[in-house]
Symmetry: C2
DNA sequence: TTATGTGCAAAACATTTGCAGGAGT
DNA sequence: ACTCCTGCAAATGTTTTGCACATAA
């Protein structure tokens, strides 16, 4: 965990990051809290929030602000897009190639200094979709 | 306001929609509440939330779930993308042509029934940026 | 040793909901 | 009349924060 010089490497931070790296889902702060609490039962929810926020600022992890009420976090920091199931709320990565060039187009069309973009697809996942998509075993 | 047969046309709904159509910003529920309250001082915040949600479901308005803590609403329903200032939080439309074809690509790359997508650019607006972008008058 | 971090609990926001009375159709 | 809708207030859910104590460097 590569941090600012004055940023300390605490047990809490190590474990939060380790747990986040274990999963490919995009857990909410509360889900991270539950994961971490199995190893550090006395950790506070505030600590989890503080550290997720801090790591996101430092760029160690990604903070994903997509549809739904809660923010989600991702240990995969290389640029990629997401797809969200409008039925169950699950968020997954999607392997569409990242369009680096549209940032420049956006800069030309706006008065902004453009820093980046994010694409979120929405749809219904195969689990929520039920039968159709795959050969689900019902009967 | 074209609604379900059993959905009533109330003063509250008319005024909420009128106020939303007046602005090109993308107000939060609370900002809509403030706008509407000037004309209907006794309206409840719950009513504003209920009706914005309802209109978004019906497709009369757009619910925008982008970065930041609050949801935003938009009376412009034709598909378009947004750009958000990471400094002041303002959200504006951006005139990048909508890429209809990437939904199909996403469908092929995932196990989802893809319904659509949204792109959010992030950057720094000219106001927050200060000097550089435009000839701002300082001195 | 000392600035930074933590646990805990309270506070601050954002949104939803129950209910009794009000209003469209 | 008969639903649906509203205002109000309380409840719920998410995130932030103050503070005394703990701990990494």
């Amino acid at each position: 965990m590569q941090l600012n010089p004055q940023m300390r490497l605490t047990t809490q931070r190590q474990i939060i990051l380790e747990e986040l790296e274990k999963v490919t889902s995009h857990p909410t702060a509360n889900e991270v809290y539950d994961m971490v609490r199995k190893r550090l039962p006395r950790i506070g929810l505030g600590t989890v929030y503080r550290n997720l926020e801090l790591m996101a600022e430092t760029g160690i992890i990604l903070k994903i602000e997509v549809g739904g009420t809660q923010k989600r976090f991702d240990a995969t920091t290389h640029p990629h897009y997401h797809i969200r199931c409008i039925s169950c709320g699950k968020v997954e990565d999607i392997e569409i190639p990242v369009m680096a060039d549209i940032d420049q187009a956006a800069a030309e069309l706006s008065h902004y200094q453009v820093l980046g973009h994010h694409i979120e697809f929405s749809g219904v996942c195969s689990t929520c979709n039920g039968i159709e998509d795959e050969e689900v075993l019902i009967n």
